[in-house]
């Protein structure tokens, strides 16, 4: 399912004295099957964009096209349910939303709420729990007896059980240890490929954006500052650094090498192997002075 934001503007508490412009003139195309990363500081408008992706917010200007549906200010769109079923959002710290007596009931809650039979919901719960890498016997446990990492996975399983076509991830690894972070990111990458999902990742981590995304959007002060493939985005890292954003460690290191050696390495490298090779070539060339 394609999603497209066209000149989207959103004002919180519009037409009141408390009105605040959050995003402006935001145009982003997310063709079906894309892995898109949205990056920006706190307050850059990332979360506002995110909430437009399944019509939690309705733009105050411009329009959002989700599949064959159009969401805009004057469009009195009803029946947003099927949008919300097709676009699943994993919010930050999703484990805070666990509430049922058992993991199974918690996972089944979403699908059953959308009219799926109990039997089918339970079947989906079993699948989903496997997909997030938890053993099936966890379904009978209370979600509150699980470890932090397991709780996060159980909560994610709840979103997967809705069988969404698009999955939106808001800082899915916040608070996890390095191994947990890597496992969760690898899991979403696998799901993205295996289930032909469209994935939108909202993150602070340039490393994750560079590693997993095919497209990156950089938000700054409510606008799209830059968009493109990781190679395009990081080929001119100076602009990002000026905004106070991180660039991937590899890119940052390449910049430092280029400054010290007063030379360019050619293209921008995004993998450790490529950078190592480039440095080896540079050193082999001998003293350039």
């Amino acid at each position: 399912m394609d999603i497209s934001l066209q000149q989207v503007e959103y004002r919180y508490q519009a037409d009141t004295p408390f009105e605040r412009l959050a995003i402006q003139d935001v145009s982003i195309d997310i063709p079906s099957g894309t892995y898109l990363a949205i990056i920006g500081h706190t307050g850059s408008g990332k979360s506002t964009v995110l909430q437009h992706l399944n019509a939690l917010l309705k733009p105050t200007g411009g329009k959002v096209i989700i599949g064959d549906r159009e969401i805009s200010r004057n469009n009195k769109e009803k029946r947003l349910r099927d949008i919300r079923q097709k676009v699943g959002i994993v919010f930050q710290f999703p484990e805070h939303q666990l509430f049922e007596e058992t993991v199974e009931k918690d996972i089944c809650f979403g699908p059953m709420n959308f009219g799926v039979s109990e039997e089918e919901a339970k079947k989906r719960a079993r699948q989903a729990i496997k997909q997030v890498g938890l053993p099936e016997n966890i379904l009978g446990k209370s979600p509150f007896d699980l470890s932090g990492g397991q709780m996060r996975r159980a909560a994610i399983a709840g979103v997967l059980a809705m069988e969404p076509e698009v999955i939106v991830l808001d800082e899915p690894t916040a608070g996890l240890d390095p191994r947990g972070r890597k496992e969760i990111m690898e899991m979403f990458h696998r799901l993205h490929r295996e289930r032909n999902l469209t994935t939108v990742l909202v993150t602070h981590s340039m490393e994750d954006a560079a590693r997993y995304a095919d497209q990156i959007v950089i938000m700054h002060k409510g606008n799209v500052f830059k968009k493109g493939s990781p190679e395009e985005i990081f080929s001119s890292p100076e602009g990002l650094i000026k905004l106070g954003l991180d660039v991937p460690e590899i890119v940052r290191f390449q910049l430092k090498i280029e400054q010290t050696f007063q030379t360019k390495l050619g293209k921008t490298f995004l993998s450790m192997e490529e950078l190592t090779e480039a440095i080896a070539r540079l050193l082999k060339r001998g003293n350039p002075v």
Partner: protein, 279 residues
């Protein structure tokens, strides 16, 4: 020899209704003025350690001493005066309606007279560079700014030790740097001892010493230099290796002259440049 500021002596702790120990026979010392990073996988006992240090829980076996005072239910208030904690979520620890009310909260609770309070609030906010936000409401602040206000609230109480319990993990890179820079400055000017519980290995690499926790036990302690030589062992513990170390290793494997694993990018670049010029 002078006794260390914090002493853990064979400390064990178990949560009620849980099998197994959250902490098992943990002993270490922290000296005055040190910056110690405590790292470990989720559930390794890091946060339990923080709770024990601050007297939110007490050891079931062994003892904890803070500036010579053993932590018990009788001494807990005395110990809490010496320790300030900054927690993970900036929104959960903002209690005042304005920045200055928030900083004043702890002072008020301690019955500090108003004149002194006003002065201390001002001083504390100046130290974290937030004085110009005196009358701002919290929702106008970024995460990094809120954490700095939380730190000011702690400074106003003049503690000896500040514990950061994953205090930067919910911040964006800029906010994280703001907070760490503030702490670094304060450590020197205020002679604070800093205990930082963190997953951020770049941050840990800058500490004086690192304690590695694993399954409730102290697995290893040492300087960042020593700890990051552990290499793959760290990954097995659910941790990671900082980027400069990874790259040093990759370059060396590629046959380039990298004599050791560098902890900072600057050092590594300098080493490459030097070896290049000496060819």
């Amino acid at each position: 020899m002078e006794e260390a500021l914090v002493v853990l002596d064979h400390v064990s702790f178990q949560y009620e209704g849980q099998e197994g120990y959250a902490l098992k026979d943990v002993s270490f010392e922290i000296r005055e003025g040190e910056w110690v990073a405590i790292v470990g996988h989720n559930g390794s006992g890091k946060s339990t350690l923080a709770k024990l240090l601050n007297g939110l829980q007490f050891p079931m076996k062994g003892k904890i001493k803070v500036s010579g005072i053993e932590s018990t239910e009788e001494t807990v208030w005395e110990i809490r005066k010496k320790i300030g904690m900054v927690f993970q979520n900036p929104d959960n620890q903002f209690v005042g309606t304005t920045v200055q009310d928030d900083v004043a909260f702890g002072l008020e609770n301690n019955g500090i007279p108003r004149e002194i309070m006003v002065r201390r609030v001002k001083e504390a906010l100046e130290k974290v560079n937030m004085y110009q936000f005196l009358n701002q409401e919290p929702h106008h602040l970024s995460g990094g700014q809120k954490q700095r206000v939380a730190i000011a609230g702690i400074l106003a109480l003049r503690p000896e030790i500040i514990i950061l319990d994953e205090a930067t993990s919910m911040l964006d890179p800029r906010g994280r740097e703001e907070v760490l820079q503030t702490i670094r400055e304060l450590k020197d000017t205020e002679r604070l001892t800093v205990i930082s519980i963190t997953h951020d290995l770049e941050e840990a690499a800058k500490a004086d010493r690192i304690l590695v926790m694993n399954r409730g036990q102290l697995y290893r302690e040492g300087t960042p230099e020593q700890i990051f030589q552990m290499d793959e062992e760290l990954i097995e513990l659910g941790l990671d290796i900082p980027f400069p170390v990874k790259l040093s290793k990759a370059l060396r494997k590629r046959g380039l002259p990298v004599p050791k694993y560098f902890l900072s990018e600057e050092e590594l670049v300098k080493e490459l440049w030097t070896s290049h010029c000496n060819k």
